[in-house]
């Protein structure tokens, strides 16, 4: 049996009455102890074996899990894993999504993966059938059937549970489907050895101990939720508290209430979540107690210095410690963590000369001022990670040079499931090329954005997400509904910057003033004059199936003239 499985089975024996997780569904807290988890895992493994045939250790048949937030998620996933299958969480359609479109968009993915089983509930199976989704030869297992089989008692306590299948450490433990339009989601294959090595390294880096409690709203189909808040705490035996993402968006105060109630110590959040908390719970900060928190760790998006400063200032009244903010750089392709800021220390940020950064020259640290840009670092590489910055030809660059972040190490993924071509493109010489841009300075990693995010305008490197966040601050523009587009300019042979945004219908400003204000703000903050700012009606911009704005699709529509006459335009 591999090290990860042995660790979990060991916890089943040694931590029987300890809490594995408190799972909050609506306003009820369900306590799952390790003995409950073991029972559930054995039942799921038995159910899958009966439905699909008991797997051999080498098979690695995939099980897709479409289940909403609830206690079944954990035994469904771990039970499949320990039972010799390869589980993968998938997102469920939200109330706002058209179920037909949602399930049809998964058809290509299902054909590629060819799962042995699909675990879901009656409602979703009905939706799948209604839209004619072809699940191939996959057995459909309703959530209610998962726990129908009583576990068989092993001959003695030291024998492994008969439902479990011992698999080698090099076998694939799970698939993590990273973001992207649904049909093109990449299935990141992670071995048992990789998830164990990562858990050891990240656990050591964070100094995770028995007294820690992870509090999370993050969905488990995303690597941050899956690995940081489930798979790794399961290894370290750290208790967790899990609430639903839907509840968090609509009642962010619940995150803080749960932290208080359970004395939470660790909480991972994307940058937008810090902003959401500031803008909602912020004015009631004094009503909460966050003094137990060792770190809110920002991850999954470029960390913004201004956001951290505002968060710290806002929640000082809630007892938020000066050193209780952290940052990390992570990805599914390295299980999760690549770099982490040292916990127990104030988060560090530095100012760099703006124009050199824009041109992609070697960075120069300067005092904060008009020509500087303040950046938060993402910390230092985890033990077992070998990180390098490379140029377009994948040659290593010196410290201070901006280039692509390329990673080798002890817990790299085993490729993209059933996609050898994509794997071949991104992994070279045992090193994964991330498509993220950044630089090393003083031993710390600074992440600037995705290569895809980059807009090059007359030799200047601009990051679309920065421009969009800036423009979104203008009253009259709907924040989060802005795209910055590089439009080819034949005259210059380069691109011009066009910003397309949806109006905020509730704001009392006229369209002309709004677009002029956006033009002026972008020019003054980024020192580039957009070629145009165009304002559209709400709902005009195109989104991916995961709800994010698609720059690529909106660029195509813009070039085709598909947006029609804008409500307002400034150039």
């Amino acid at each position: 049996m591999n090290a990860y499985a042995r660790q979990i089975v060991g916890h089943f024996r040694e931590r029987r009455d300890q809490v594995f997780s408190h799972v909050v569904v609506d306003d009820e807290t369900h306590t799952v102890r390790w003995r409950d988890l073991e029972r559930g895992c054995r039942q799921v493994a038995a159910c899958l074996a009966e439905a699909c045939g008991r797997p051999t250790p080498d098979e690695g048949r995939v099980v897709l899990i479409f289940l909403p937030h609830g206690t079944a998620l954990f035994p469904a996933f771990l039970g499949a894993m320990l039972g010799g299958f390869v589980p993968s969480f998938m997102p469920c359609p939200s109330a706002r999504q058209d179920p037909d479109l949602y399930w049809q968009s998964h058809q290509a993915l299902l054909r590629r993966i060819r799962p042995a089983a699909v675990i879901s509930n009656a409602g979703m199976f009905e939706q799948m059938a209604a839209c004619g989704l072809d699940t191939g030869s996959a057995v459909q297992i309703d959530e209610d059937e998962l726990f129908a089989i009583a576990p068989v008692s092993p001959p003695d306590e030291s024998s492994p549970a008969p439902e479990f299948v011992a698999r080698d450490g090099r076998a694939i433990a799970l698939l993590q489907h990273s973001s992207g339009t649904t049909g093109l989601k990449k299935g990141v294959a992670l071995s048992f050895d990789a998830i164990a090595a990562h858990a050891r390294s990240y656990g050591r880096t964070l100094g995770v101990g028995e007294s820690d409690t992870v509090v999370s709203w993050l969905p488990l189909y995303h690597d941050m939720g899956l690995i940081a808040c489930f798979v790794t705490p399961a290894w370290t035996g750290t208790g967790t508290v899990q609430m639903s993402a839907f509840e968090w968006v609509n009642r962010p105060q619940q995150l803080f209430k749960l932290i208080e109630r359970h004395r939470g110590t660790l909480c991972w959040l994307p940058n937008f979540a810090f902003e959401h908390l500031i803008h909602t719970v912020g004015r009631h900060a004094g009503r909460f107690d966050l003094s137990s928190v060792r770190a809110f760790i920002s991850c999954s998006e470029p960390c913004k210095a201004a956001t951290f400063a505002r968060f710290r200032e806002t929640f000082e009244a809630a007892g938020l410690g000066e050193t209780a903010l952290g940052s990390c750089y992570a990805m599914a392709e390295t299980v999760f963590g690549v770099t982490q800021s040292p916990l127990g220390a104030e988060l560090s940020h530095r100012s760099f000369e703006r124009h050199r950064l824009d041109r992609g020259d070697r960075v120069v640290e300067i005092d904060e001022g008009e020509d500087s840009v303040e950046l938060v670092d993402c910390g230092v590489p985890l033990g077992g990670i070998d990180l390098r910055i490379v140029d377009a030809e994948r040659r290593p660059l010196e410290d201070g040079s901006v280039g692509e972040i390329a990673i080798a190490g002890d817990f790299l993924f085993d490729g993209y499931h059933e996609d050898p071509e994509r794997t071949r493109r991104s992994v070279e010489g045992g090193r994964y090329h991330s498509n993220d841009l950044g630089f090393l300075h003083g031993g710390r990693l600074y992440v600037l954005g995705r290569v895809d995010d980059l807009i090059i305008v007359n030799g200047r490197n601009l990051f679309a997400h920065q421009i969009e966040a800036l423009a979104g601050r203008i009253p009259g523009l709907k924040a989060g509904r802005v795209v910055a587009l590089p439009i080819p300019d034949e005259r210059t042979g380069s691109n011009v910057l066009v910003i397309v945004a949806e109006r905020d219908a509730d704001a009392m400003t006229d369209e002309r003033s709004v677009v002029r204000a956006a033009l002026t703000l972008v020019e003054s903050e980024i020192d580039v004059l957009p070629h145009a700012v165009e304002l559209l009606e709400r709902g005009s911009l195109l989104k991916t199936s995961s709800g994010k704005l698609s720059r690529r699709e909106n660029l195509r529509r813009y070039l085709d003239g598909g947006f029609g006459t804008p409500l307002g335009r400034a150039a």
Binding site: D26, D27, F246, E247, V249, N250, R251, P252, Q253, Q254, K257, H279, T280, V281, H284, R287, D506, M508
Partner: protein
């Protein structure tokens, strides 16, 4: 706590977080669409204000089912009474 007292708290929270003109009335028959500035973010803040003022917790599934201000007041009142019992 009477329904009228709860109504006052709910309407004050709506006023605080929306862009309603000063002096404009909030009728129980109104829905979020009828109140300027009552978008999804404002809704989060309105409910948060009510929860903080009354020391209650209302799962979001239930608040989204309340289609009018009057239904929201009834929901909050029921939650307050449940907590008391």
């Amino acid at each position: 706590m009477s329904r009228d007292e709860i109504k006052h708290i709910v309407i004050e929270s709506i006023r605080e977080e929306s862009t309603l003109a000063e002096g404009a009335g909030v009728a129980e028959s109104m829905s979020a669409r009828d109140v300027p500035g009552w978008d999804s973010l404002a809704h989060v803040r309105i409910m948060l204000g009510i929860e903080m003022e009354l020391d209650i917790e209302v799962p979001s599934e239930r608040t989204y089912r309340a289609e009018t201000v009057g239904q929201l007041i009834d929901l909050v009142a029921a939650t307050v009474n449940d907590r008391r019992n």
